[in-house]
Symmetry: C2
Subunit: 374 residues, 2 copies
């Protein structure tokens, strides 16, 4: 049973689904940026409420400046987890930090989803210990959005770096969780899942990938997704998949490689266009289109690494996110919170685990699970 089920009655859960818990501290740009993002978000979502966590004396003036005091509750927390703190050091700082306080608010059922710009490792450790792993999940994962040629503009990739390794069973769990996230976060009824490898032929790759390849194929029907098999690094932005499954080491390197390549190219594009008067004029004429392109691949629009496999949902917003980026993470959080995402995901994983225990003859009739997740 999830702790949401044990700790709260249905009315409370319903109420809390409109409430987000936000750690105002720990981002590179400080609490003023987080509160500005909060204000943007609240402006577009009239029913939403937020609990913010941090030093009250610092937060109060920021919040009254934006005139959002009636929809924001402050939970005073004096300490801050620093970006440079090792996860265990951060954990020992414990209950007095804004990060801990933000996690506690979803643990108690007061809010539905927790959002923080802080230290990823510390947030994952604290969340895992305080919220605990969903039954059937051995390694929680971080899911990120990857700019793609799909109509939504994005694919889901996991694990983006929660854990440095994953065995075949973890990869299967990632496929189930990633499909559930694509359904609830990107509105894709039957997501197409691919497993990242160094080639698409069945004989390619490490031993655990070959086993995972079969496990995920067998789980596709009961998990309500299509499995497209092995994919390669060049397929990450492809429109033939929606969800990319990989271990956290490979996923983290791929994510940062993609970001690094994009930033190299835009730097080179900029300096190419500034090279002579003719191309400066050209760039001026094309600036509307170039701005649209920049927006299309803007990392702020894809802000929000979602921790999957815990009893409640936690979203890591980018440390250097500005107000637009923070608002994007809050929109995602609100959407997932209102849809009851963490319970749906838990039901998906539990149903796959029970199907596996029942043996293969039950897999084909596993349509029961379709009622548990949209």
């Amino acid at each position: 049973m999830t702790s949401a089920q044990t700790d709260t009655d249905p009315a409370q859960v319903n109420a809390a689904s409109h409430v987000l818990s936000v750690d105002a501290m720990g981002g590179d740009k400080g609490p003023a940026t987080v509160v500005a993002g909060l204000s943007k978000f609240l402006g577009k979502n009239p029913d939403a409420k937020v609990i913010v966590h941090g030093p009250e004396a610092e937060l109060k003036p920021l919040i009254s400046k934006h005139n959002i005091g009636d929809r924001v509750t402050i939970h005073d927390a004096a300490d801050v987890v620093k970006m440079t703190d090792k996860p265990k050091v951060a954990f020992r700082k414990g209950a007095t930090t804004s990060m801990w306080s933000a996690i506690e608010a979803v643990r108690s059922g007061a809010a539905s989803v927790c959002v923080s710009c802080g230290n990823t490792g510390a947030l994952m450790l604290m969340s895992t210990i305080r919220l605990r792993k969903t039954d059937g999940v051995n390694r929680p994962a971080i899911a990120c959005l990857w700019p793609s040629r799909n109509p939504s503009g994005f694919n889901v990739m996991l694990d983006a770096g929660a854990d440095i390794s994953a065995d075949q069973d973890d990869l299967l769990t990632y496929a189930l969780m990633g499909a559930s996230y694509a359904r609830n976060g990107l509105d894709i009824d039957r997501p197409r899942v691919g497993l990242l490898n160094v080639g698409t032929e069945d004989h390619k790759g490490r031993a655990e990938l070959k086993v995972a390849n079969e496990l995920i194929a067998n789980a596709a029907d009961s998990g309500d997704f299509d499995y497209v098999g092995f994919i390669e690094g060049g397929d990450l932005p492809s429109d033939k998949i929606d969800v990319i499954v990989t271990d956290g080491f490979t996923g983290n390197v791929a994510l940062k490689t993609g970001e690094g390549t994009a930033s190299l190219i835009s730097e080179l594009l900029r300096s190419a266009l500034l090279r002579n008067p003719l191309s400066i004029l050209g760039a001026l004429l094309a600036r509307g289109s170039l701005r649209r392109l920049r927006k299309r691949i803007d990392p702020r629009r894809v802000n929000g690494g979602v921790f999957l496999g815990l009893n409640q949902t936690v979203i890591k917003s980018h440390g250097s996110a500005d107000a637009t980026g923070v608002a994007a993470a809050l929109h995602l959080a609100y959407r997932l919170g209102q849809g009851g995402f963490s319970d749906k995901l838990a039901a998906r994983v539990a149903s796959a685990a029970s199907l596996a225990q029942d043996g293969p003859q039950h897999i084909e009739t596993g349509s029961l699970s379709t009622n548990t997740d949209k």
Copy 2:
């Protein structure tokens, strides 16, 4: 002893350093493209000679069309390794294939470096069995060039996919081989080497990375390179390193992710600029600058994955390379062949291995090795 040392006298080696061995078959665009690339290359290198391998009846007319018959020798080979052949199947086709014949010409000392556009897996298997691994190398690697902010425009990354795993000793060997390649292929006297990981702190990453981190740091002085420690995916195009060391699984995913990201962005840029008349005009005005940018990140300019750790050098040209791409791979091959690269690399690896056997007190005085490699 390398087979070059056993099979040939010094006069012959000298003669062969001007000769390349080229597999004309197996590329996606056929032998006409390879011969066109050959002609480009020979036009710029008046002392170079080439042995081409493939069906004589098909190659002869192509070569006389380009009027390069006096500097090209044809080795007739009736069979072709297909892109879809599994490596073992290709190997069993054996001696009648153009790929095998191209490798034999460097094995016998008739040519200095072998170049093929064919099937990578087959080329690696055939090369490893026929040319054998350099003493002290357990896993040969493929080194590729990565567009970067460095003055040369490129960094070296290895392994780009020769092997799906690498232990700490392999990673140390990759560091030595990559540094030697950067010195000889990119003219960098004292290359800066980084080890790819999911963070830059010493406690990050898998166990073998932590051990490799120490091994490579200890080998830096005797290997004549600087070790910058762990780097992340975002650092691949960085100007703080010249050589990126990683296992072939991660390297292959990173390489293809970078290519995929670059191709998504140029696609989006193109469609953004074609969106309205104003930006079409802008793009026309800036087209000189945009063309220069395209050239800067053109994969054809970085054509040539170099197999490191065999007794002779083999270069894999991209299967879809056009004449410009083939010529780029031949230029690289010629440069490495003339510099006696494979012997220098072998001496580097052997010297590191003997230093390790002699124990740490010899590492600091290991300046002997500087005579073996430029």
